[in-house]
Symmetry: D2
Subunit: 137 residues, 4 copies
């Protein structure tokens, strides 16, 4: 953040901030993350292997918030817990977008394909109400 | 996939598939996942705690593909490896969207907020070329 | 395992196996793993970073067996489930011993120290019946 | 630790500590953990599912220390890094012992069986110098 700017200016320029900018889609999020990494010369650390590690670590930090909660408690988080969980969810998404970008994977296309595959593996009539893996259906 | 269908027909029917439908945004992906779970009566398993576990497990399955690769090898996956990795990336996204939906978290808003926070924690001029945690900067 | 062998014979032949040998302690397990890796020239892959990844991946494979189970179900695994879980538990221990060996960490000494630390962080009278983190006590 | 005690005294008093006691084997560690949990009435949280989550979370905290390190850097941790890593290694072992105890799994017997299985899956002559999964050998 350039020195000498007033907080107000920062907020106003936030929309135009090259580091964040408008983010209303996965594409815009990807572009913001590209700029963020480039400005810090962090691409050197962002090998697919390292990003996959970071993603896994963040997913575990998210899980940590639930580890001693009952299923019922996990459904009624208080505001503090929810804010922490939201923060970890964001971290998972950031690394997922960075990794997908690094591998030239279109996230939504990959999700579409996987959902279509799952629809075949888990036919609604055979898997209704069952948590068994499809190989056990 | 039923035999004898032309690829064109498949695409057309895929777009009309009530289980998947058009998915061009995170919102549409969320809606498709809602339908998918409802048709299978799977919402009962989708407590936030269970979804956080599933997300973490999928992130590890993704990481598994990289575990014995060098950083260089992780940057030049062959087509088979990349297809498997893409599949795992999709799984992570699916569970992330399910979990965020379950907790009423707006994924893109959460990512925006986190990126803005990171911009403050890691000023470009102090963190350039360094992988140290912000507490060590 | 060839049929018709008595358990006694199996134990005897197991003891003579150069790849495994007698394993009645963590030290003997460490030594067996050293031989196993050396015979396959696998030490080159066993950097601390890679072993930490492998450990994390195996811990997630273990967790996967519980992900859709209720707490009650997780306490009454059938024989098949238990055999799979036991197998994953073993994998976690193998990688933990390999990693500790690679870093010259004495596993039991580290566990002793951590348990002593936990005894201070979680005084019995303050933490009885509570799953809160010590910082919240 | 009270100041002014000699290391020798600390060791002696540690041996008499009802919470930890002598721990020179996995069995003694298991017994110490049983006492530790019982004194805090924590067994109620220690379902196999919750312990598997905790184990996975701790394995990720261990991995976190390596996530941005090169393989070479991961082999030359400084004293501070090593102390943190040793601490996380201990956490993984503690939860592994708790989980195995909860499921009546003998850790060393499970490790022996798995090592024998691995010896068959990865014959030394076929797997020498290769990190490929046995299914790809």
């Amino acid at each position: 953040m350039p020195q000498g700017r007033s907080p107000r200016t920062e907020i106003a320029s936030s929309a135009a901030d090259p580091g964040t900018g408008r983010i209303d889609s996965l594409i815009e999020l990807r572009d913001a993350l590209r700029r963020f990494a480039a400005e810090r010369d962090w691409q050197q650390f962002h090998t697919p292997k390292n990003l996959a590690i970071a993603l896994s670590v963040e997913a575990s930090e998210l899980l940590e918030h639930f580890q001693w909660l009952s299923d019922a408690e996990s459904q009624s988080l208080d505001a503090t817990q929810l804010a922490r969980v939201r923060d970890e969810i964001a971290d998972v998404l950031l690394y997922l977008v960075l990794l997908a970008d690094r591998l030239d994977v279109d996230l939504l296309a990959a999700a579409r394909d996987k959902l279509a595959l799952n629809a075949k593996k888990y036919p609604a009539d055979k898997s209704r109400g069952s948590s068994r893996k499809y190989t056990d259906l």
